[in-house]
Amino acid sequence: MSGRLFRWLVVGFLLVLVAVPLYWILDTSFKTGRQILMSEAIYIPKPFTIENYLYLFEETRFARWLRNSAVVALASTFVSLTIGSAGAYALTRLRFPGRRLFGALVLITYLVPPGLMFIPLYRTFIQIGYSNSLGTLILAYPTFLVPFVTWLLMGFFRSIPRELEEAALVDGATRLQTLGRIVLPLAAPGLLAAGLFCFTLSWNEFLYALIFIADDNLRTLPVGLSEFVVSDFAFWGQLMAAAALASLPVVLVYIYLHKYMVSGLTAGAVKG
């Protein structure tokens, strides 16, 4: 089989694979409840309606969920990037006893999955008396974001030549100054990639948000979405509209910045 044919087959298959579910989301979101229930006009909505989208903002707390998710995602990203870059710098550029061990520890903690940690982590928050608030999530998300960010940035930092910093140090700059003025700017693509990662993972997180937050007003998007199907009657039209809108912010952010995300994945996987 020629390389060309192979390429076209694979690309074609993947395109269809990705496009079909996306199409189904949009298709359903523009249908009326009756159409969906009675299986009328499956492939193209007829009549075409935006009532589902309107419903989201008029009758549900969708806007609230959007805001909560945004707050948590942005804050978690900021916290994780700060902590992670500080740690990555220390681990790659500074020498201190226990460095190797600590580096390994950071990577190992990444392997403790949320699916296992949700109850004990929740108990911890209850014990310190800080649960059921957006801040709880902002504290919880770095537990799986920071190890990954650290790992990713370590790869990036390593690829920045030491000489640049050493020259600056000799010139009288402090370590922190070299971090801020040389290393970080050069690692900007890495930071951007790491930031995108953090934002995406936080935006999508479901389990912790489900368990740690009891307050209706503090619900994030994923949990809000799952609400549409748990009742006696699944409102698929509204649900798909919500799904489309919930994906939009990350997709937009990503469309503009996906180059960095890819190079970030690369650096992590290849160099790390």
């Binding site: 409840g33 059921n132 489900l210 740690f212 006696d232 009657f233 699944a234």
Partner: protein
């Protein structure tokens, strides 16, 4: 010009000062209330309005939080562990037993006394869920009975009478399938939702397979009767092929949608299907009929799993105001208003309201009869934490799916279930 501007500015400043200096309102008492998000949005709206009216009446500020049947225990688990239960909690049929056993609910016997004076005697079968050790730990609000929905027109087509027994349902389903009208007419979802474990209890109890005695203590699952019951409903999946495997998946909405999409002829559900059909002017509304769930050799022992009660957890610091709120919510006009606005979903288990004019129609009668015949979770004993866990751990529906999905023999499935039930009762002994 300038003087005019200055004058206006002066006036504005005076107004602003007056506004900020107005006497602070007496600090409102702040209460939190958790309620179920039901399947009937208009009823929810009535309840919210009622709650706010009552709040004004007692001079409090009430913050309402909602939960669904699915995430109820996620929410309550969190609150139990962090000791942050709301001031007023709407609990389901097992909530009072669980929380009272933990000592987290206040004694509301006096409130119940007041309510029964206005609304009439409390139905005895409603006590099992809320009365422990002679005291009431929650005030019953309403019940949602599970009834059997069926397609009148299809039954007529195959010349069948509305079924009274579980076997009859099998026979009619087979006829419907044979006539080529529907592939999977029998929509019994033995899944992990109320639509699964409620009929499961009704089924077992109608064959005399209850695992506790009148005091609620464990006596063992009567193996033969349980096996007999299982053998009646599993052939629909295994041999007759009149039930679709998809009903065993989790969603509580699958059977509703399938019924309204015209794909099944029988399904157990709360009255919400009627509401959904009415509100969407559904073509099948005229063909949708309801009946009480079937009886078995041991009679008709229908489970009352959807029972909503108002409780006052001890965590709250405003016990007096919380109780006043509940008393207001349970006053005659408020409960009647909710009932009549619920599209026949809510049956308050009090004499005057069960026998109300509102239920005096064909559908209404089926609904109230079911409530009158209903048995609390934990029957023939009261609702206990152990009984609650048997339900919340899905022991009964797991027993069914072991046979249907894992192809285990009914005898083995019953044995496993009994073992699980015994373990639960050992861990949560009944006092």
């Amino acid at each position: 010009m300038l003087t005019a501007a200055r004058r206006i500015l002066a006036i504005l400043i005076v107004i602003a000062l007056a506004w900020t200096l107005q006497p602070a309102r007496a600090a409102d008492v702040k209460l939190t209330l958790w309620r179920l998000k039901t399947y009937i949005p208009p009823a929810d709206k009535i309840l919210d309005t009622t709650i706010q009216d009552c709040a004004k009446q007692i001079g409090a500020d009430v913050q309402i939080q909602t939960y669904t049947f699915d995430d109820m225990w996620t929410k309550y688990t969190a609150a139990i562990e962090s000791k942050t239960l709301p001031d007023v909690a709407e609990l389901d049929s097992v909530g009072p037993a669980r929380l009272a056993n933990l000592g987290r609910l206040s004694d509301v016997s006096d409130l119940v006394g007041t309510v029964t004076k206005e609304l009439g005697e409390l139905a005895p079968n409603a006590e099992g869920a809320v009365r422990f050790g002679g005291k009431f730990y929650a005030v019953p609000h309403y019940m949602i009975p599970l009834i059997l929905f069926y397609r009148k027109d299809i039954l007529e087509k195959v010349g069948a009478q509305p079924p009274d027994t579980w076997e009859a349902i099998n026979e009619i389903s087979a006829k419907i399938k044979k006539a080529g009208i529907q592939d999977f007419p029998q929509g019994f979802p033995w899944n992990r939702t109320g639509d699964g474990y409620d009929p499961a209890m009704s089924l077992l109890w109608s064959y005399g397979a209850a695992w506790v005695d009148k005091s609620g203590k464990y006596v063992g699952m009567p193996k033969d009767k349980a096996v007999q019951a299982i053998k009646v409903v599993t052939p629909a999946f295994l041999t007759d092929k009149t039930s679709a495997f998809d009903f065993l998946s989790w969603s509580g909405s699958g059977n509703n949608e399938a019924f309204m999409a015209g794909k099944i002829a029988f399904t157990p559900n709360g009255p919400s299907i009627l509401f959904q059909e009415d509100s969407t002017k559904h073509p099948l509304r005229k063909d949708t009929a309801i009946k009480m769930m079937p009886r078995g050799p041991a009679g008709r022992n229908l489970a009352l799993t959807f029972v909503m009660n108002w409780a006052v957890p001890v965590d709250g610091k405003q016990q007096k105001e919380a109780r006043a709120l509940v008393a207001c919510l349970m006053s005659k006009d408020k409960v009647s208003a909710y009932m009549t606005g619920s599209f026949q979903q809510a049956v308050p288990p009090y004499k005057n309201l069960i026998n109300h004019e509102y239920w005096n129609n064909a559908d209404g009668k089926v609904i109230t009869e079911t409530v009158k015949l209903g048995r609390p979770v934990g029957w023939p004993g009261p609702t206990t934490p152990a009984a609650a866990e048997v339900i919340s751990s899905n022991v009964l529906t797991d027993m069914m799916t072991r046979v249907i999905v894992d192809k285990v023999t009914p005898e083995k499935a019953v044995e496993e279930a009994d073992k699980r039930i015994k373990e639960i009762y050992d861990r949560l002994p009944v006092k």
